[in-house]
């Protein structure tokens, strides 16, 4: 039997399974950021005047801001002038009409990732809006959705075809002044997804996108906007893998969700970007602003995330619970291994009466990983009868990692009930012993215990994702336990 130390050696040397580069001609604009670059991006995408104005406004505001330093993560300063702000596959000009026309190289990439589009189209019933370095290349099931009046397309397409909707909701949840990275995104966002669910419609399938950072040294600035009209329902999946790179790549996305009266939005993420190698070299910087607004009464927004990748994760999907009786949920599993750092959590802002929020966060640290939960629950003065329950559990594997909790509770209403609980523990020797006695290997035992630890979150994921998430967790933690 291999000793635990040997296990670590062999397993830790496993290569990142999704690390490869697709050779596709890229169309880029010069490095660096200035007003001309912003204008150029806008011009390339043939955007209306108001959007260019909005981008420029954001850019000028961004110049006055400083990179925030408060997060519990360490990284070398980012040179914003050294990155490319736009990259699109060259074939953009003559977009494929069907999947057959899509660049075969590209299709192969997706196959390696385990999402062959054709298969998905036929079998799984998931509509995939695949984002390949900023420009959407294939959209499936569009017709079926269109019949119901659901708009699901790339962001650039939405700007062209539904400018009134984009104009109405863009920046309504995350204003362009929000924070350093969101403002940067507002100035240079390349593409993303747009979904609009009309009144009373229940979206019959899970909407899904795959983001992929491919072009070397391209910061990706996705912008996602989902609007659910009165009584609508939508479940949206976002999944990510990125190829192996040495340079640190910046990813500053913005996601905005709006739920009107009685609407429900469920947003699930599995993030598995390149986390850097064993020494902590390379990896993605994932600085994301995600926020949902429960604008109408009885509306509900639910965030579920499984964060296993990225060198640095910095993200706080939040809910503004504005409508009376609205509900916000946040379920998260964050894994840090090797030299990964994660500072993630949520923000629940209770504005309306009888608003409720639930936070369940599971952090797993292994190797030299540093995992922080940072959450804010704010009960404003008029949020009578607001209720919050938060639970943050941390699991530590190895003595070089760290787990941190920074919950902020701010309450201005006496009828509020706010509870926060946190615990930190390790996998007990006795638990492992018990499993080994029954013939499980140490690795399997750990996998089982970790999956049990995360069960509350995985339960919230749509089926397709739940399976992938469990596998990902296994891959991320391979070799982390002695």
């Amino acid at each position: 039997m291999a000793t635990p130390a040997n296990n670590v050696e062999t397993l830790a040397t496993q290569e990142y399974k999704y690390g490869f580069v697709t050779e596709i001609e890229q169309e880029t604009i010069p490095r660096g950021l200035n007003e001309n670059v912003v204008r150029l991006i806008s011009a390339k995408k043939n955007e209306p005047e108001w959007l260019l104005e909005w981008r420029l406004k954001s850019y000028r505001h961004w110049l006055t801001m400083e990179e925030p330093k408060w997060a519990n993560v360490k990284f070398d300063p980012i040179d914003y002038q050294a990155a490319y702000y736009y990259a699109a596959p060259k074939s953009k000009a003559n977009r494929p009409k069907s999947l057959d026309e899509v660049d075969p190289e590209l299709l192969k990439t997706y196959e390696k990732l385990g999402i062959p589009l054709q298969e998905q189209e036929l079998l799984s019933g998931v509509a995939v809006d695949a984002v390949f370095d900023s420009v959407s290349v294939a959209t499936t099931f569009k017709e079926k959705l269109a019949k119901l009046g659901i708009i699901f397309c790339s962001f650039s397409e939405a700007v062209q075809e539904h400018p009134e909707l984009v104009r109405k909701w863009l920046g309504s949840v995350v204003p362009y002044t929000d924070n350093f990275f969101a403002t940067l995104n507002s100035a240079v966002f390349s593409d993303g997804s747009f979904a609009y669910i009309p009144k009373g419609v229940r979206c019959p399938m899970e909407l899904s996108t795959y983001f992929r950072i491919n072009a070397k040294e391209t910061g990706q600035f996705e912008r996602t906007l989902i609007v659910a009209e009165e009584g609508a329902y939508v479940s949206y999946l976002e999944g990510c893998t990125a190829p192996m790179r040495d340079e640190n790549q910046l990813h500053a996305a913005v996601v905005e969700l709006v739920a009107l009266d009685n609407a429900t939005i469920k947003y699930s993420t599995v993030q598995n970007w390149y986390p850097g190698d064993k020494e902590g070299k390379g990896g993605i910087y994932n600085f994301v602003t995600k926020r949902g607004k429960c604008q109408g009464v009885n509306s509900k927004i639910s965030w579920t995330q499984v964060e296993t990748g990225s060198a640095i994760t910095w993200k706080y999907p939040g809910c503004i619970l504005q409508g009376d009786n609205s509900v916000g949920e946040f379920y998260s599993v964050a894994v840090t291994n090797n030299y990964q750092q994660a500072d993630t959590g949520t923000k629940m802002i209770h504005v309306g009466k009888n608003t409720r929020s639930t936070i369940v966060s599971k952090g797993i640290s292994a190797g030299h990983g540093q995992n922080s939960y940072r959450g804010m629950v704010k009960i404003l003065k008029n949020a009578t009868g607001a209720r919050n329950y938060s639970q943050c559990d941390s699991l530590l594997m190895g003595d070089k990692c760290g787990a941190h909790t920074f919950p902020y509770l701010e309450v201005k209403n006496p009828t509020a009930q706010v509870e926060h609980e946190a615990s930190t523990s390790k996998i007990g020797e006795d638990q492992i012993f018990y499993c080994r006695q029954r013939g499980l290997s140490t690795e399997d035992a750990i996998g089982m215990i970790v999956n049990g630890f995360c069960k509350e979150v995985f339960r919230e994921l749509p089926m397709e994702f739940a399976v992938e998430a469990q596998k990902l967790l296994g891959i991320s933690l391979e070799g982390s336990v002695g």
Binding site: W70, I379, K381, S394, L396, M397, G398, D399, K400, C401, G402, A403, H404, T405, F406, P407, Y408, L409, E410, V411, K412, N413, P414, T415, A416, Q417, V418, E419, H420, E421, A422, S423, T424, S425, K426
Partner: protein, 439 residues
């Protein structure tokens, strides 16, 4: 930094020069050096702003904006009379009384000390060689904390307690700071040092009482050292007057198998900030932190605690409670740090709050920072109101609404006060607390 702050720092510097000149003849070299280090650090740090994470909810600009004069010392008959009527004055135990930060020997009573024990005022201790030289300023980090820096610059008087090996003092030792009078806003910088040698044991009660109005500022620093197997029970009771400012920084250091128990009860002051830091720096050391804050009116009371698990096999328990009424604001920030080698740490923390009014605000942040894997750490925070079912239960038994509310609030508060072991003291604390809550 705003200009207003700069101006205020200027007069501190001016006052410091005068203070330095006055002390030049008597102060030993190490003390002068420590003081100027403090002043230097304060000049560099300045008053904290709410941009700093540790001061996010505690805006000290009201303190920074006032021109304080050094605390006047005048022992009038009125003060003498009032001190006699104070709670804790009647307790039959050793006590040191300070008026506006200056030791009032005639009101104090230090007698029947066990052999080798030393209880005296800081001003005297500073002129003598001994433990004070080795310990003063070693635990409170004046280089990092502006208020500690300011206190260190003006360190002059306070309480000094030194317990020799194996000595236990059964009755509590009282340190009473009375604040009274003064025509202009004044500032005092009380500095306390408690050194408990191996296996010694004592209970200390540090009390701040404001006996008439007026604007004043007590900027206190207390350092507690518990050597191996020592046990220190430290109660801090703050009941300053309504317009006062109170900033207190307490640092407890526990060596192997030592126990440091702090119990901090905050009632008074317009702006009160209480920092308690306990460092567990030896295997088997224990920390217990209890706290209660009761606010009303427009008060702002801030509680910052930190427990530093620097060595393995230590345990800590922290329980804080808050009762908020009126338009007041309270802050709780509890940090538990478990260092890399501090395996087998066992730590629990909780902060529970009762919001009684529409306009009160509570900001609470229990915080864990853990760098070791074999640990058991939990923390929790709750914010709520009086349980209507409990009220109903009491009312169904013929107790009026007001009385039922009072009963439940008292019960909520007594969970903290009950940790004070010495019974007469506990009773006194409770009655003082009740008097405050009734008003």
């Amino acid at each position: 930094m705003a200009i207003a702050l700069k101006e205020s720092e200027d007069f501190y510097l001016k006052d410091f020069r005068e203070f330095e000149d006055r002390q030049a003849a008597t102060a030993p070299a190490w003390l002068s050096k420590l003081r100027s280090e403090g002043m230097q650090a304060f000049a560099e740090l300045g008053f904290p702003t709410t941009k700093l994470e540790d001061w996010k909810y505690c805006n000290v600009s009201p303190v920074a904006g006032v021109r304080f004069v050094p605390a006047p010392y005048e022992l009038t008959d009125k003060i003498r009379k009032q001190v006699k009527e104070l709670p804790f004055a009647g307790l039959d135990c050793t006590r040191m009384v300070f008026v506006n930060g200056h030791y009032a020997e005639e009101l104090s009573s230090v007698r029947d000390l066990p052999e080798g024990a030393r209880i005296t005022n800081m001003a005297r201790a500073l002129t003598q060689e001994g433990a004070v030289t080795a310990h003063l300023g070693r635990y409170a980090k004046h280089r990092r904390h502006p208020f500690v820096a300011l206190n260190t610059a003006f360190v002059e008087d306070g309480a000094f307690i030194e317990l020799p090996k194996g000595v236990a003092i059964e009755k509590p030792i009282g340190i009473i700071y009375v604040s009274a009078g003064g025509t202009e806003p004044w500032v005092a910088h009380p500095r306390n040092l408690v050194i408990a040698a191996q296996g010694s044991q004592a209970t200390v009660v540090e009390t701040y009482l404001g006996i008439d109005g007026g604007v004043y500022f007590n900027n206190a620093v207390t350092e507690i050292v518990a050597e191996e197997n020592a046990h220190i029970d430290y109660v801090k009771f703050q009941d300053e007057s309504e317009s006062a400012f109170h900033v207190a920084t307490m640092l407890a250091y526990a060596a192997r198998n030592a126990a440091a128990v702090t119990n901090s009860i905050q009632l008074g002051a317009r702006l009160g900030r209480e920092e308690v830091t306990t460092v567990l720096d030896g295997e088997g050391a224990e920390a217990y932190l209890y706290g209660l804050y009761v606010t009303n009116g427009r008060q702002l009371l801030d509680n910052h605690t930190a427990i530093d698990h620097a060595q393995p096999h230590c345990s800590s328990r922290e329980f804080y409670k808050g009762i908020l009424d009126g338009k007041s604001t309270a802050v709780f920030n509890g940090k538990i740090l478990v260092r890399k080698d501090a395996q087998k740490t066992d730590s629990k923390q909780s902060d529970k709050n009762l919001l009684l009014s529409e306009d009160a605000t509570i900001n609470t942040k229990p915080q864990l920072e853990i760098f070791a894997d074999d640990v058991k750490c939990t923390h929790g925070a709750t914010i709520g109101q009086i349980d209507p079912e409990s009220i109903f239960y009491l009312r169904a038994r013929g107790i009026g609404l007001e009385e039922a509310r009072k009963l439940l609030i008292e019960a909520f508060a007594s969970e903290i006060v009950d940790h004070v072991k010495f019974e007469p003291l506990r009773k006194q604390l409770k009655s003082a607390l009740l008097a405050k809550m009734r008003s």
